[in-house]
């Protein structure tokens, strides 16, 4: 039996955390029923605007829990103070573990520079404001219009850029008018004529965007054919994307860090009996499932354990402050680290001879190969797309993609349609493989 109350557990955990060198944010703990935690976890935060994708996640989370396939145990919000939601129907022992886990997250929020940059006081109010704005927009305009607007904004989530500045425009160089002499055409043959300005008849876009930016959502919110309310709505959605971006980029570190710390903190916890600790560790084993190596809890936790053993806790604090998943894995998953993890049997030391048919037997998994495979999984999967030209007169927008890999035909067409819907004019994406033209009406028609 776990003794004491939620308050006393939190107080003791905070004290243990302090002793071990953690500096978590002040954290509010809420005990909520399951329906609410599904809602919160599908919205990622309290009070956000409504959207059907949230409904899908809600449905999935609920279904998973009802079928016993996994449960949302907790949700922590990067806010000041941090908000933590615990599931009321969990056994007390589990909730003690979750408190420790939450303190780990909270410490991560406090240390990480990226997360600190996007943190706001009382974030729920901020989200609520946005939700209110979109709700009003729904009342002013047609439901479909707003639904499609939000859907279209969501397609651009990869391109948001916290360092976006309003673009500087370059106007077309004016062609100097010259008196035509008798043999000027001969001179012209030898002159280096600017190819863009060469032809006076064909229309050239008046503005080029410089420097190239990729933040299409910001561009569209600034220059698209939209009402002011819609512009504001798009900027709000973009702000929320910027808020969630660092969390997505540090998912493995963050979950690993919290798992690392809940193991340590619960070891020192005193207000429970032996079997409660065992119950908590049973849940830990469930969450950090070693069968799935790339479970963020398991992978992150084991990597932190190895790093602490090899380089000390101070180094880890520094990593948390400065790095994201990508740099973390690229810099720290070295052969030394992998070898130690393999020696401890945390990371696989054997791999199947034939990945198609695991029953054929397995072979030794060299540390270098495993390190390379791990790093490959973390490679960014997002194509780099830029706004290359923008024209006021014909209201057209041109995007460019120069990467070597081909873009997905259908999805890209959908996204370009979505941009056309927001932009309200001609939109074109040019890639070495294919050129896409956006059709506004196709986006409206899409189910």
């Amino acid at each position: 039996m776990v003794h004491g109350t939620l308050d006393s557990w939190v107080a003791e955990m905070a004290e243990i955390a302090d002793r071990q060198g953690l500096k978590p944010l002040p954290t509010e703990f809420h005990l909520v029923p399951d329906d609410e935690i599904y809602t919160l976890s599908s919205y990622f935060a309290p009070g956000r605007y409504r959207h059907w994708t949230h409904g899908e996640r809600y449905w999935m989370a609920k279904g998973r829990d009802e079928h016993g396939l996994g449960r949302v145990y907790e949700l922590v919000i990067n806010s000041d103070p941090a908000l933590a939601y615990l599931l009321i129907k969990n056994p007390n022992a589990d909730n003690v573990l979750v408190i420790a886990h939450v303190l780990g997250h909270s410490d991560f929020f406090a240390r990480s520079r990226d997360l600190t940059q996007v943190r706001r006081p009382h974030i729920a109010l901020w989200f609520n404001e946005h939700a209110q704005w979109l709700e009003n927009l729904h009342r002013q305009q047609s439901f479909l219009r707003v639904e499609k607007l939000v859907d279209a904004a969501h397609t651009l989530h990869q391109l948001v850029d916290p360092y976006y500045r309003a673009p500087e425009f370059r106007t077309r160089r004016a062609v100097p008018h010259q008196a035509v002499g008798a043999f000027d055409w001969v001179k012209e043959l030898y002159q280096d004529v600017h190819p863009v300005a060469a032809d006076a008849n064909s229309y050239q876009p008046n503005y080029h965007v410089w420097p190239n930016t990729r933040d299409v959502l910001a561009i569209v919110a600034d220059y698209g054919h939209l009402t002011d309310e819609e512009r504001t709505a798009l900027r709000m959605i973009r702000d929320e994307m910027l808020y969630f971006r660092p969390q997505r980029e540090t998912k493995f570190m963050n979950e690993g860090w919290a798992t690392f710390w809940h193991v340590r903190l619960t070891r020192a916890f005193s207000q429970w009996d032996e079997e409660d600790h065992i119950e908590a560790m049973r849940m830990h084993a469930l969450v950090a499932d070693s069968q799935q190596f790339f479970n963020p809890y398991y992978f992150g936790w084991t990597l932190w354990e190895v790093l602490v053993e090899l380089y000390g806790i101070q180094t880890c604090f520094e990593i948390v402050t400065e790095q994201t998943d990508l740099t973390w894995v690229n810099q720290w998953v070295t052969s030394d680290v992998v070898k130690l993890a393999q020696d401890k049997a945390w990371w696989p030391s054997e791999r199947p001879l034939n990945p198609e048919n695991p029953s054929e037997g397995s072979q030794y998994y060299p540390a270098e190969d495993l390190a390379r495979d791990v790093q490959r999984v973390f490679l960014p999967q997002e194509p780099e797309i830029f706004v290359s030209a923008m024209d006021a007169l014909s209201h057209s927008l041109e995007l460019a993609y120069n990467g070597p890999k081909a873009l997905h035909r259908d999805y890209t067409q959908d996204v370009v349609n979505a941009i056309a819907y927001l932009w309200g004019g001609q939109v074109k994406l040019v890639s070495p493989h294919h050129t896409w033209i956006g059709h506004e009406s196709d986006w409206l028609r899409r189910s």
Partner: protein, 345 residues
């Protein structure tokens, strides 16, 4: 409970609404599958539907690496497919409920009647949901009161009125000749199956006749129509003549809406003769529909298609009773059905 707590549930409904629409849009691709076609009534059928996705910029999946060469790390498979279960009736409802038999006019074959419920009566007892406010207030006003008592309440109630149903005879003819290979047979049976199921559901009182034909017609029952294979050459004249004869004997044009649905690859032996022309013009004149489904016909015009088109054209316009559609693959089945029995366009 705050409204914010219900947002998840509301969004779930929003999502399911969207999902329903998406399923409806994609159903024609899914359901020509044999599993649906042969299934007995009420059988639940599992269909894989793509999950609704928000598109984003992503790379074209590499077909080579999808087949092999994956390290096995972090490989997620088929997470974006959603399984749904529908019964054949539900599928039918989603697909064909908005269709009506074309050119159906009121012709009572005499015997068929059904009761129709109309709310056109008033009582003093009844459920509160049926209160007739105007009449109740009127009762109070008659007494000179401006409030209602229990005695004032009047309730709307219904009466059953007998309603004649239009009678229809629907004749399905399937080409069973040697030129119909396995695929063509499958496609023609699939189309016929959909039509029969739909007719059963929408027009339960109609009569169905089934014919197979080679050079000679053969009237069969439903089971044989879908299962028997005979073989031989193809001619259509005798079949049309037999059907016309049967109609004239048993289903008078004044009492019945007549429909003829013909499934064939259009590959008939002789060209037009006078007798065929007669039958076709007689059918067009007295029937509501001559629907012709050409199953994987010739690339150019098949003989039968040409003949029908030629005899059904009046002043350059196709006779309104003549509807033709081609079916070359599974995906064409439902559009073809829609083209033939769809809106009166």
């Amino acid at each position: 409970m705050e409204l914010s707590n219900q947002k998840g549930e509301l969004d779930r409904q929003w999502y399911l609404r969207k999902l329903n629409r998406a399923i409806k849009d994609r159903l024609p691709e899914l359901v020509t599958h044999a599993a649906v076609m042969g299934a007995p009534k009420g059988q639940r059928i599992r269909l894989a539907v793509q999950k609704l996705e928000e598109p984003d910029f992503r790379f074209q999946p590499d077909t080579r690496s999808a087949n092999g060469g994956h390290t096995g790390l972090g490989a997620g498979d088929n997470a974006d497919v959603l399984w749904i279960e529908l019964t054949t009736e539900e599928i039918m409802n989603l697909l064909l409920e908005d269709l009506k038999l074309p050119r159906l006019v009121e012709k009572s074959g005499g015997s068929l009647q059904r009761d129709e419920v109309r709310y056109d009566d008033v009582t003093v007892h009844g459920p509160l949901s049926n209160v007739d406010k105007r009449r109740s207030l009127y009762e109070a006003a008659k007494e000179g009161r401006d409030y209602l008592t229990a005695q004032d309440l009047r309730f709307r109630t219904w009466k059953e009125h007998p309603k004649p149903i239009t009678a229809a005879v629907i004749t399905l003819v399937r080409d069973a000749s040697g030129s119909m290979d396995e695929t063509k047979r499958y496609l023609s049976k699939a189309t016929a199956w959909w039509l029969v199921e739909w007719i059963r559901q929408q027009y339960a009182a109609s009569e169905l006749l089934f014919f197979l034909h080679t050079t000679e017609p053969l009237q069969v029952d439903e089971d044989t129509f879908f299962n028997r294979e005979i073989t031989g050459g193809t001619a259509i004249t005798s079949t049309y003549r037999t059907i016309v004869q049967l109609w004239e004997d048993s289903y008078a044009a004044n009492d019945f809406n007549r429909y003829l649905l013909h499934f064939s690859d259009g590959d008939i032996w002789h060209g037009a003769d006078a007798s065929l022309a007669n039958s076709i013009s007689h059918i067009l004149a007295t029937a509501s529909l001559l629907g012709y489904f050409e199953i994987q016909g010739l690339q150019s015009r098949s003989p039968l298609w040409t003949i029908l088109e030629q005899h059904a054209t009046i002043d350059g316009n196709l006779h309104p009773a003549m509807r033709m559609a081609r079916i070359n693959q599974r995906d064409d089945v439902l559009p073809a059905i829609r083209a033939v029995i769809g809106a009166n366009s």
